[in-house]
Every structure is written in structure tokens, then in C-alpha cells.
Amino acid sequence: MSTEDQPPGTAAARGDIFATTRWTVVLAAGDRSSPSADVALEELCRTYWYPLYAYVRRQGHSREDAQDLTQEFFARLLEKNYLAGVNSNRGRFRAFLLAALKHFLANEWDRAHCQKRGGGAALLSLDWQDADTRYQVDPADHLSPDKLYDRAWALTLLEQVVARLRTENIAEGRGGQFEMLKFYLMVGKNDIPHAEAAAALLMSEGAVRVAVHRLRRRYRELLKQEIAQTLTDPAQAADEMRALLGAFS
């Protein structure tokens, strides 16, 4: 589930209010077909399909049913059946997707439909096996489906960001350093002492501190970028992050 480094249409600078995100591209295209919009939507779907699958599974559907439903949903989405309808959630892709899914599940669930489509034309090749394993192992059974969806979304998002960060570091020849320092990306009440890392990496403590600071800064930038891709207004990134954080409390 890797993404391209430079999705089409995004400006590099964070905080540039004229930056077009993938989601804005999709929304702007609307019903008209435009290749960039198609690509953008497909990329978004390819990234964030797991939360949908988890939600559908949480609703009580079996593995096979959930696969069918998710596949069907994406088929319709990629045909832009839902983009014209849903209005209120356009600002955030995450909320839009969930609302569309709920709408779909409530109204259009019909086995026959799925069968008619020929058992799901694989428009997106998705890794069902991995998804199901993840769902089974997920310990959060006491959460509501919505919260589970948010959590899965956040997880997916973070995986994207960490993967990107890792790729960047490896490209710059700091792969091993990244593996050691990535734990500093977490906020905790106990400050991990830098001495251990310094010894392991054969660097001075001061250098470790600086490296950690840089890593955190880059992480934050990437995180904001990634979140912004699913929003129409990048200024909403803070709210979105807070909402996702709320799914874990």
C-alpha cells in the first residue's frame, strides 16, 4: 500500500492555502470525468480502504460479505455515484467516506446486485487476507463502529506517514538511524534518555538530540501533508488531528 511521493496537483509548501489536495481535485471535478480526478480518487481509495472494511465487518457481516460489500461500494464510488449526493461532509474525506458507506449499507445492500456484477469486478486490487488478519487481531472490541473506523483511519494514515518517513531516511542513507530513533516520535510522560541511542548509534548525545528534533519536525510536516490530502481546507488539519486523537481516548 505505497503511494507516490508527489501526488498530482499538490503544492509542496505546507500551509499554502491555495494548495490543491487530492480531495479538492476530486470534488472540483464533480460529475465530469477528468483523468486527474480519477487518479486522485483512486489513490485515496487505495490508501484508506481498510477502515471501511473494518467498519463493515464490525457491523456483523461475515468475511465474504464484507469483502463483497466493500468492493461493491468502491465500484460505485469510483463511478462517482455518491459524489453528487452527499453535501455536508465534503470538507473531509474521512467523514464523507463513512457517510457514503453508511448510506450504501442502509439502502443498497442486495446480494443479487453483487452477484449481478459478476462477483465483484476487481477494479481495485485489495489485500483481503491481510485486512482480515488485522481485523481479527485488533483488540478494540468494545468500541463503537464509528470509533473503530476512526481508529483504523488514523492507523492507516500513520502507517502512510511512517512509511514515507522511512523511505526518505533510507534514501538519505540513515535507515538504521531511523529504526532506532523512530521511538522518539511518540509523546510520553517519560522522556527516553538519549544516552542509549547515542551509544548504539555511536553519536554524541547532542547529535542525537538534534537528529530527534529534525526527525520530529519532518514527521509533523509529513503528517500534516498527509492529512491535508483528505481535506478541502488544509487549515482544518488541526481539527482533523484532534478528532483522530479523540478516537483513542
Binding site: R14, G15, I17, T133, R134, V137, D138, P139, A140, H142, R151, A154, L155, L158, E159, V162, A163, M180, K182, F183, L185, M186, V187, G188, K189, N190, I192, E196, A197, A200, H213, R216, R217, Y219, R220, E221, L223, K224, P234, A235, A237, A238, M241, R242, A243, L244, L245, G246, F248, S249
Partner: protein, 916 residues
């Protein structure tokens, strides 16, 4: 190094926050912590804040002597400094330069900081000064020599007992700040300091709000959701703009949990008493902590003072029969229960009660009952009068009002009205008992509580009343003694049905078995209660309105001792709870009062809604008193006079004892002591007259029974012997009247003597106040131009004044003004009543230091604030008129008068107050 060790199938946990790690691409990383890092507040495009060195700071603050750098963090740096002028050590806190705040930042900062500076509380670090220097905001605050809670926890020096002493202090500080409208928003162990005396000091109040991202600017980068993520309330994370003071209560809960267990309450966390962390924690604390940690703000404690009360109750009462593994009762207010389900009965189970023994301390119950009625006088007396009125209407009051009532006569008087009394009597009495019981326990009560006998257990109360009285009646018929035995044995059954929700027969059985253990003691106790009740009778039966509630209160204290939360401890002379010092091992603290008596209503609580019941009950009381005198309608005029004469001085006596004489009375000439004595004599005369007439009426009612040969029916005010012939009737009347008059005269004489003694022993409060001339209000001094010359030495006090007292008074006033860097233009003295001296300052200005230059600014638009116990500051919201009220009751009145007169002759202050 930080990989969680786990097998492939075991659930992994994040080493930082303890939440379980999900499977997936984030190998070993915790999503919650990652997200929190993403949201963390930093200046990501500027280098981390480097605090200035000591030398740099010293250059910026020439008026301070910078001693050292104490600490630094994301929120700035703190230095230890010394103010040479005042010769005190202070803490100087400098915050990172706020370049993104916009032009309004300075204005907003000043406003917020001023509100913080007004927070003056022993548990809050006081802010002395604030301002900005080179774009960096700074605060000069109280210096605390001690450690913060984080350091104490890490050093492993916190036991749960110490936590129980720390938390109430935090609650006090929080409640104080919340009352002033300030929310902390960043309560965490790093912000809670403890000085060497074990006193809690909370730092950084409201600073989070000052530095927070203002909603208007809409800056894209995240400046943090304000606060440290793990201590933030859920609504603070999701909707930071709609946060109120209850977010602080959540943070307090997190801190409390961490103090008890050493871990953070994240995800699915175990209650503190589960002992999973190796420390034994009282199970009653679970409820407190969990309630503070409720996700919905409405489900939490709504006020910090409630948390404090809950914790102090637990700290006070040792875990008894119900304690460490039993129920967590007695923690007010009760948690929300699903509607429709009956609330679980509080306190220990019947088996536990039967299994244990008790001691009934009559004297102690009397003390407490009397204290309770005194403190809740109008409520209790009023509600009792109301219920009594209703019982009279139901027609069976007189037969029911005594525990030693004559059940035999009940059986003789088997007319229709007693049926109604039987039906209504049980629920009405039960409701009344419940009202008293809840007041004893400190739970909120309303008038509806007194009628809950009808809504709650009506059937069983009715059955109880019926069955009990039938059987007691039978017992009396069978040579009286079994009746007496049953009467005593079943005396608690009504309360048991109401309080513990038992059925009528089990309640009777339980009462009987428990009383049987010490039957004679209970019998004696009930006799004493009857005596107390009858004490009110001589005062024209009106006194019953007071003595009966006292008797009921005493009875219910005994009930609480026997059936309540814990076995009664040896009664201590109710000392107020005082926290032992943290460092010392210390004994468990003073044994609190027996039973579940909670802290008496704290003055910090806002006036309860029962205040509105107050005046309503007062009217009810007067109405009931008037109605009770209905039988003597023919003698209405003297009786009304008697009522007024009784109630009015009673009211004023209680008022003057508690609050000092109301000021407007000073103008009525009440200062004349002879008028006082004369009015008391008038009261006495009226009482005697009324007594004769009332007694005659009652004797008329009792006449038929007197002439019978059956056992005499006791009328109110039994006299010596009961001659049954009609000839002796008038002699009986005469003897009885003389006895009553004598008793009454004695009573009044005692009251008068007591009153005089009280007034003599407190000259500055009452008696001298009557005779001294009140200080006339002083004309405002003409405004003068501020004098340029400063008097170098303080003035000498006028002759005849104790120099030390006077200087102390001046110094206190000066300190107050200096402390707030305030000067005034006009000084005005007045004295609304003789024990208070008001100093009014107008034309107030406060000193402001900007970039090292001093300027004076008018104080406008301030809100009411309260200073320390030596004086009270009142700010007019509109502007300039400000008063400082000192209660100088501790000083001799003569000194105060002379000092006031001296002050009024002084010229107003100049550029500063050094002439003062």
C-alpha cells in the same frame, strides 16, 4: 531499547501510555502517542526556545536581582530572583516570544494576566507582577521552596494517605479559581508544587489560555490543543473552545489516579483499589476517581468542592464493617443510577448490623442533635411544623406526637379521624425523619423529601403504622408492660423502612433485635427524648415547635450510630479535620464524629437552593404557629401578642448572636439597654397572661377525662396530683397555674441572665455597641494635587493609642496596596456598623512596567475580588469606587475609632504610598 517484549500472540502494550498496540505496519509504535506528537505544540519552523542566561535576564530586569535558573521547559523558563525593595525571594517566569499572537495579543495578555493576578489563595501561587519585555511575556510570582508532584512520584515518596491530604488542597484551589471564572486547563503533576510545610501550591494557572491559539486568527499550523494530552479531558481534545471548569476536574482525576497507582488511566484501566499496582487503596476512593474521570462532563463532579468533600469524608471515617471490600456508602452526592431502578440501600446490610454491637451515647447524641437544629434552625423547625400541621389535620396528632404516647387512649378514641391519622401518620413521620436524616448526612434536601413517604414506600409505611400500633395497643391492654416493651423495641422500624428500604415486618424485626441488645439503654434514651420534647411544652406549647425537632434530630443521630456506616467511635469533641503534615508519619488523624456525619456545610459552597425554601418555610412556620393557636380563637388577641412577643426577640437574639446587630436597628435606639430590659418584662407579662388563658382552654378540653375514675389522661402540663372531684377542680387549676408560672418565670429569668452575660462578655460585638455612638460618615476629602514631596518616615500615632496595634494596621494597609502596586487619589472612611471600618479608595491606579519604564494606569472595569483574611476588596464593575473592608473586631474599639479619626485627617496619597 524500548521494544515491548511479547510473544507473537500476546497483546503488546505501548511503553509510553500503556495502551495495547494494534497490529499492522506500525511495528512497535503506538498510534495514540504518534498522533499526540503530531499535535504537539512546538514552533516547528523556529529553533526550540533557548532561555536567556542569568546575565541577560538581569539586564532586562534592573529592579530584580537574578539568582539562578530554576527550570526550563516548553512553556518557558523560571528563575529565582530577589526583590531588593521588598527583600523577598520571588520566581520570575519568562515565556517564549509570542510572535504569532497578532497585535491584540498584548491587550489580551494583560487582561488574562490581571485576572490571574487577582487569584489570591494559599494554595495558588500568587502572581505579583506581569508584563512583556522584548516581546517575551513574563510573570513575577511567589517562590515556592519545594518539589513538584512529578518529582515526588518519581522519588517514590507518595503513599495513598498522603494523596488524600494533597487532593483536598488542590480542590480548594480549583474551586477558588473556578469561582473567579478562571479555568486552569493544564493540571498535571508538574504544575502541582509542594512546599516544605506540605502545603500544595498550584502553578501556571490560566497560562495555557494565554498562550493558546486564539480562535479568530485561524492559523494553519497547530499550536497544540492546549495542555498535556494524557491529562486532558476528552472535550478538551475534541472541542477545545467549549471547555469549562469541568475539564480541570477530569485532569484532577487523572492526577489522583496517577498518585494512587503510579500509572495513567488509559484505555481500559483498572480501578485504583484493584491493587494491580501493589499498593493497597481504599475501595471507596474508586468511586471518587472514576466519577472524576467520566468522559461526559455532565456525569462528573460538577464542582471541585464536591470532590473535596468526598475525599475528606473517606479520609475521616476509618473503613468499618462496610469498608475495604464492601460498599462505598456515604459519599455525597450519590452517583447517577438508571431511572426506574430502586437505589441500593446505603450503609451496611442488616446481617452486618445484627452481627455487631453498639454503644448508645445519649449525651453525645444530644449535643449533636442540638447543634444540628441550631445550624439548620429555620429549615428543620419549619418542616417539622408543616408536617405537624398536616398531622393535626389528619386528626391524630396529639396521640402520635410522643413516643411514650398513650396507645390505650388511642384504642378508646376509636372514631373516624384516627383512621385517617393511621393512614397518613406513617408516611408523614417517615418523610420527616428522612428529611432530618439527609440533613444529618449532608445530602441535599428539598421540601419534597419530607413527603417522599408517599412516593417511596407508602404501602409498607402504612402497614407498619397499622400493625405496630395495633400490636402495641394490645400489649398495653395486657397489663401495659408488653406494650411498653414493643413500643421501645419497634421505635426504629419506621426509619428503617424509609432509609434502608426494608419491608415492614423485617424492619420491625431488625429494630426489635437490635434494640434488644440494650433494651434498657434505649428505653432510658427514649425517656430522655420525651423529656426534651416536653421541655417545649411550658412555653404555651409553641416551644414544642423547637424542642420536637431537637428530639427528632437526637433520635436520628442515635439511629445513625446504631444502623449507620460504621460502629460508633468514642465521641471526640468534633474537632475540624486538619491535614497532618505530609512528611511526618503521624497518627491517622482525629477520630471523626461517629456515624456518617459529614463535614458541616462549608462556607465555600454557593448558597444552596434551599435558601429559597428558607423564606418559604419561615412563612409556613408562622402560618403553622397561628393555626396551632386556633383552638383558642376566642382569646385571639392576647395569644397573637404572645406569639409576636415570643418570636420577635427570639429571632433577634439568634440573629445578634450569630451576625451582630443589624445596622438599621442602631438607629432605632435599641442601643438603650433599659429599653431592652423593659421589653423583656413586657414579654414576661404577656406570656403569663397568655398562659392563663391557654391553660384554661386546655383544661376545658381535658375536663371530661378528669371526672372519670379510669386512669387519668395526661393533659399538657401535668400538675401535682389529680383530684377527681369537681370541687377540687379550681384548686387544681390554681396549683397547676402557679407551678407553670413559676417554671416560666425561671425560664425567662435564665434567658435574661444569659443574654446579659453574653452581651457583657463581648463588648465590641453587642453591649458596648448599644451604648457607643456610631461613627458618623466622613465627608470625602477634597481632591488635592499629588504632593511631590514624600514624607520619609511613617507618622507617629495619636496619643492614647497602642503604638504596635496602630502600626500594624498601617503596615497591613500599606502592604495590601504595595502588593498590588496600587495608588489612590482619595481616601474616605465610613462605618456602617460599629464592628467594621470601611476605607474607600477612589481614583485607583495601578503600576505598569513596560520595557522597563513605569507608568500608572487607571483601574477600570474590574470585578469583585477577595483578598486575604485581613481585609476584603470590593471593586465596582463600573469603574472607580473601590472599598477595602477591614474587620477590625480584633482590635479594641477605642483604638479603632481613634485610628479612623486620625486617618481621616491625613492628606491623600502622593505618587506612591510611602507617606503612609
Amino acid at each position: 531499547m524500548n521494544e515491548p517484549e511479547a510473544g507473537p500472540n500476546m497483546e503488546k502494550k505501548c511503553p509510553q501510555c500503556g495502551a495495547p498496540l494494534p497490529a499492522g505496519g506500525l511495528a512497535g509504535l503506538c498510534p495514540a502517542c504518534l498522533l499526540a506528537q503530531g499535535a504537539a505544540e512546538t514552533a516547528s519552523d523556529t529553533p526550540p526556545f533557548q532561555p536567556p542566561t542569568v546575565a541577560e535576564v538581569a539586564a532586562l530586569f534592573p529592579q530584580l536581582e537574578i539568582l539562578s535558573l530554576i527550570g526550563k521547559g516548553g512553556m518557558g523558563a523560571v528563575y529565582q530572583a530577589r526583590q531588593p525593595v521588598l527583600d523577598r525571594i520571588v520566581a520570575l517566569k519568562i515565556l517564549p516570544p509570542q510572535t504569532t499572537g497578532g497585535p491584540d495579543f498584548a491587550e489580551r495578555f494583560n487582561r488574562e494576566a490581571r485576572a490571574l493576578a487577582r487569584l489570591n489563595h494559599p494554595n495558588i501561587i500568587t502572581v505579583h507582577e506581569f508584563g512583556q519585555v522584548q516581546g517575551m511575556p513574563f510573570f513575577i510570582m511567589e517562590y515556592v521552596d519545594g518539589l513538584n508532584l512529578r518529582q515526588l512520584e518519581q522519588a517514590g515518596k507518595l503513599t495513598p494517605r498522603e494523596a488524600l491530604q494533597i487532593v483536598p488542597q488542590i480542590c480548594e484551589a480549583l474551586q477558588f479559581a473556578h469561582d473567579a471564572g478562571i479555568v486552569h486547563r493544564d493540571i498535571k503533576p508538574d504544575n502541582i508544587l509542594l512546599d516544605k510545610k506540605g502545603r500544595v501550591k498550584i502553578a501556571d494557572f490560566g497560562i495555557a489560555k494565554i498562550l493558546g491559539n486564539p480562535p479568530e486568527t485561524g492559523v494553519p499550523e497547530t499550536q497544540g490543543a492546549i495542555g498535556t494530552p494524557h491529562y486532558m479531558a476528552p472535550e478538551q481534545v475534541e472541542k477545545p473552545q467549549s471547555v469549562d471548569h469541568r475539564a480541570d476536574i477530569f485532569s484532577l482525576g487523572v492526577v489522583f489516579y496517577e498518585m494512587l497507582t503510579g500509572e495513567l488511566p488509559l484505555g481500559k484501566f483498572a480501578p485504583p483499589s484493584a491493587g494491580a499496582h501493589g499498593v493497597r487503596v481504599d475501595v471507596r476512593l474508586d468511586e471518587v476517581v472514576l466519577r472524576a474521570l467520566e468522559k461526559e462532563p455532565d456525569r462528573r463532579y460538577q464542582h471541585a468542592s464536591h470532590v473535596k468533600t468526598a475525599v475528606e469524608t473517606i479520609a475521616n471515617t476509618p473503613p468499618g464493617a462496610g469498608g475495604m471490600g464492601g460498599q462505598a456508602g456515604g459519599v455525597p452526592p450519590p452517583p447517577l443510577s438508571p431511572p426506574g431502578s430502586p437505589p441500593p440501600p446505603p450503609g451496611p446490610s442488616p446481617e452486618a448490623i445484627l452481627a455487631r454491637d453498639y454503644t448508645l451515647k445519649t449525651g453525645h447524641c444530644l449535643e449533636r442533635g442540638w447543634a444540628l437544629v441550631k445550624s439548620h434552625f429555620w429549615e428543620l423547625v419549619g418542616i417539622h411544623a408543616l408536617i405537624l400541621l398536616l398531622l393535626i389535620i389528619a386528626g391524630s396528632a396529639f396521640a402520635r406526637t410522643s413516643h411514650l404516647g398513650n396507645a390505650a387512649s388511642d384504642m378508646n378514641v376509636s372514631d373516624g379521624t384516627s383512621v385517617l391519622g393511621l393512614v397518613l401518620g406513617g408516611p408523614l413521620w417517615a418523610g420527616l425523619f428522612l428529611y432530618f436524616l439527609k440533613t444529618i448526612r449532608g445530602e441535599p434536601v428539598t421540601v419534597e423529601t419530607a413527603f417522599s413517604g408517599f412516593s417511596k414506600r407508602f404501602l409498607h409505611l402504612f402497614l407498619l403504622n397499622l400493625v405496630a400500633w395495633v400490636l402495641i395497643g394490645l400489649g398495653f391492654i395486657c397489663f401495659i408492660l408488653p406494650g411498653v416493651y414493643l413500643l421501645v423495641a419497634w421505635c426504629f422500624s419506621l426509619v428503617l423502612v424509609m432509609d434502608k428500604g426494608l419491608d415492614f415486618w423485617p424492619a420491625m424485626e431488625l429494630s426489635r433485635k437490635v434494640v434488644n441488645k440494650h433494651w434498657w439503654k434505649v428505653f432510658g434514651f427514649l425517656l430522655v427524648l420525651a423529656g426534651v420534647w416536653w421541655l417545649g411544652v411550658p412555653a404555651c406549647c409553641i416551644g414544642v415547635l423547637v424542642s420536637a425537632p431537637v428530639a427528632i434530630a437526637v433520635f436520628l443521630y442515635a439511629y445513625e450510630d446504631i444502623f449507620g456506616q460504621v460502629a460508633p467511635a468514642t465521641p471526640a469533641a468534633g474537632r475540624p479535620w486538619a491535614p497532618p503534615p505530609i512528611s511526618g508519619a503521624g497518627p491517622a488523624g482525629p477520630t471523626g464524629p461517629a456515624g456518617t456525619v459529614v463535614i458541616p456545610p462549608a462556607p465555600l459552597n454557593p448558597p444552596p437552593p434551599a435558601g429559597s425554601n428558607h423564606s418559604a418555610l419561615l412563612y409556613v412556620l408562622i402560618a403553622a404557629a397561628v393555626v396551632l393557636s386556633l383552638p383558642a380563637l376566642f382569646y385571639v388577641i392576647p395569644l397573637i401578642a404572645v406569639l409576636l412577643a415570643l418570636l420577635v426577640p427570639f429571632f433577634f437574639m439568634s440573629q445578634s448572636i450569630h451576625h451582630g446587630l443589624p445596622p438599621h436597628l442602631a438607629g432605632w435606639g435599641w442601643g438603650n439597654v433599659w429599653l431592652e430590659i423593659g421589653s423583656i418584662a413586657l414579654v414576661f407579662a404577656l406570656l403569663v397572661l397568655g398562659l392563663i388563658l391557654t391553660f384554661k382552654v386546655i383544661f376545658n378540653l381535658a375536663k371530661p377525662a378528669v371526672s372519670q375514675s379510669s386512669p387519668p389522661r395526661s393533659a399538657a402540663g401535668t400538675g401535682p396530683g389529680v383530684p377527681s372531684s369537681s370541687g377540687g377542680g379550681s384548686r387544681f387549676l390554681k396549683y397547676a397555674f402557679l407551678a407553670m408560672a413559676g417554671l416560666l418565670a425561671l425560664l425567662l429569668a435564665t434567658a435574661l441572665a444569659g443574654f446579659l452575660w453574653l452581651t457583657h462578655s463581648a463588648p465590641h460585638r453587642t453591649f458596648q455597641v448599644f451604648t457607643a455612638q456610631p461613627i458618623p460618615p466622613v465627608m470625602p476629602l477634597p481632591p488635592q494635587a499629588p504632593s511631590a514631596s514624600l514624607a520619609p518616615t511613617p507618622p507617629a500615632p495619636p496619643a492614647g493609642i497602642n503604638t504596635n496595634e496602630f502600626n500594624r494596621f498601617l503596615k497591613r494597609t500599606r502592604q495590601e496596596l504595595d502588593r498590588n502596586a496600587i495608588r489612590f487619589n482619595q481616601l474616605q472612611l465610613s462605618s456602617p456598623n460599629e464592628s467594621q471600618l470601611f476605607i474607600s479608595l477612589t481614583g485607583l491606579q495601578t503600576r505598569k512596567i513596560v520595557n522597563g519604564t513605569t507608568s500608572w494606569q487607571n483601574i477600570v472595569g474590574l470585578l469583585e475580588g477577595t483578598r486575604d483574611t485581613t481585609g476584603k476588596w470590593f471593586f465596582n464593575g463600573q469603574g472607580q469606587l473601590v472599598s477595602v473592608h477591614y474587620d477590625l473586631a480584633q482590635m479594641d474599639l477605642g483604638q479603632v475609632l481613634a485610628a479612623a479619626r486620625w486617618l481621616e485627617n491625613q492628606p491623600p496619597a502622593g505618587a506612591d504610598n510611602s507617606h503612609f
